[in-house]
């Protein structure tokens, strides 16, 4: 059995927990409930005829007072940088976070998730900035934990990249 650890990273209230809950339990809760510390979930997926146990580390969101505890990252094979597309500040926070994580984990696969795309009318992210990131070969996917759009694809995509890596 192949086991892979994935960390969910990003600012607070971007939807990290909701994405995990959608992927693992196919549920979505409207009410925002902040995560403290770390909660670990597991989901088994089939990727290219291989059974893979994904260990999902849902980490407390970053803010100006609470910084990422790097001991949580240890042993991670990949990670998601989650951004709330209705809050521009969460993208710049994700970029800073990626610098820090790269120092600890090195070049492991990651995906930038532009979450809450069901709220497209409130889109606030700078498209030029996203184009720059595409130019840097960053992979990004639009997701909605609320509707489920893109969620399964995101986890499968990262799992595939981790297996290939």
């Amino acid at each position: 059995m192949i086991k892979k650890k994935i960390c969910m990273l990003g600012s607070f209230a971007v939807g990290k927990t909701s994405l995990v809950q959608r992927f693992v339990k196919s549920i979505f809760a409207e009410k925002y409930l902040t995560t403290v510390g770390v909660k670990i979930d597991k989901k088994t997926v089939e990727i290219n005829d291989k059974t893979v146990d994904l260990m999902l580390w849902d980490l407390q969101g970053e803010d100006e007072f609470q910084k990422l505890n790097i001991s949580y990252l240890r042993g991670a094979s990949g990670y998601f940088l989650v951004v709330d597309c209705t809050r521009a500040s969460t993208l710049s926070a994700a970029l800073k976070l990626q610098d820090k994580v790269r120092e600890v984990l090195g070049q492991v696969p990651f995906l930038l998730l532009l979450n809450k795309v069901d709220l497209l009318d409130q889109w606030e992210l700078d498209l030029d900035e996203l184009k720059d990131l595409e130019g840097k070969k960053w992979s990004m996917l639009k997701t909605s934990a609320k509707t489920g759009d893109g969620v399964e694809d995101a986890f499968r995509d990262l799992a595939l990249r981790m297996l290939e890596g």
């Binding site: 925002y32 803010d63 240890r74 500040s89």
Partner: protein, 149 residues
Amino acid sequence: MCVHVEHCSMAYCFTDKRHRLKNCGGSLATYGLDQIKFGDSMQERLPFLEGVTVGPGETIILPIVALTTHVYADVHIVGSKTGIWLIFLDKTAQAKHYQALLQEANETTLVREQLTRATAELEDARNKIALLRAKIGNLREPHHNNNEL
């Protein structure tokens, strides 16, 4: 509040390098570990062990880990020559207190962000109205001048 170790419902496990249980003790039930038996795979029971390798003398501290029993624990993983020690300290009370504070702080920040956005939109709308007023004024002015003529 848990200040001293004896108030933290401490439990410990010792596993070999393949994470098979060799020894254990303390308040195991607090962490849902009361049914474990020697030889059990601790990796199956404790998913946070996945991918974690600890060298002899090395220590990793995972703070506030939400365990399946709705208990939050600080987990100390200490490497030795023959395996690893896992030490659990109950931090449920602190975590719940912290969560309540963080929830309020985060919600306040979100409201403040919304207010900032709404203020910017209002300011934008005001500027547009001022521009329109100026244009209307300019349109009226020649007409007014014509009347004078």
